[in-house]
Amino acid sequence: PVPPGPAAAALLQALGLPDAPRDAPTSRPVPPVMWRLFRRRDHQEARAGPRRTPPGANLRPCHVEGLGVPGNIVRHVPDRGAAARPPEPSSAAGQCPEWTVVFDLSAVEPAERPSQARLELRFAAAEATAGGWELSVAPAGASPGPVLLRQAVPTLGTPVRAELLGAAWARNASTPRSLRLTLALRPRAPAYCARLSEASLLLVTLDPRLCHPLTRPRR
């Protein structure tokens, strides 16, 4: 391996990375959604090679095709609150627990403009209930804040997704360094409570410094 020197530091800087991350976390699998986005982009880039690009066609450089939003950085942020959450016994409706989730967004630079912040939740030990569920999201803190988001959840068989941009922070505001939320999932009809098994945040940002205008199409 190349010893860290000015050349490696210059390349890291060109890649927009302050320093070389330390070794990979041993217990963190790569989320399938990230593989899908990478393969979709990589496949397009391969197809956009010099020999196969139709005249005038260009990859949209600052656009995440798989999600349909502007952006050139996609981050899958794990919930830091998971380790601190005590195991929950399943309990009857009306006494469903609340969960605190914490997302560390300190890696996002001030120049990056958020274009999507998708909360993704997976639940376990839930039986189907007539009428489904209602998810509520509020800021976490000593005193409960106003509910930022309420969303009907018909089924828990697939991951529950909620868009936080515009709800947890304003669209044109810069990304907070940390996001602490209180979640609650209540059945609409009497039923056992569900249990949160995983929470994550998919954050898409656009760094205009790395965003070049489309190359001039060939005359």
């Binding site: 330390r22 790569v30 990478f38 982009r41 990589d42 899958h76 942020v77």
Partner: protein
């Protein structure tokens, strides 16, 4: 891994040469998830006539490059030859772990030389 460079710009016309960047060689393979590396390529070669003109289907030749090559042919001492530089580039995407245990997909423009041209 690179195609052996030809001494200076004396041999061969201006064109893209193979250069593969391996993240393992750079020592980043523990935090870069994919790809394992990429073909960055580089430009080298002589920009005298007719190389200063564009290859069929390649990037359009710059008139100024042709003018310089003409002047060099007529009076070698008057002005140097045009330079062989990237004329068309492609992006790559990199999937990696950052220091906050996030999995990050970043898109980088202008990382691969597709075509070279005389400028």
């Amino acid at each position: 891994e690179a195609e052996p460079a030809v001494g200076g710009s004396s041999g061969g016309a201006c064109r893209a040469r193979r250069l593969y960047v391996s993240f393992r060689e750079v020592g980043w393979h523990r935090w870069v998830i994919a790809p394992r590396g990429f073909l960055a390529n580089y430009c080298q070669g002589k920009c005298a006539l007719p190389a200063a003109m564009s290859e069929p289907g390649g990037a359009p030749a710059l008139n100024h490059a042709v003018l310089r090559a003409l002047m060099h042919a007529a009076a070698p001492g008057a002005a140097g030859l045009p330079c062989c530089v990237p004329a068309r580039l492609s992006p790559i995407s990199v999937l990696f772990f950052d220091n906050s245990d996030n999995v990050v997909l970043r898109h980088y423009e202008d990382m691969v030389v597709d075509e070279c041209g005389c400028r």
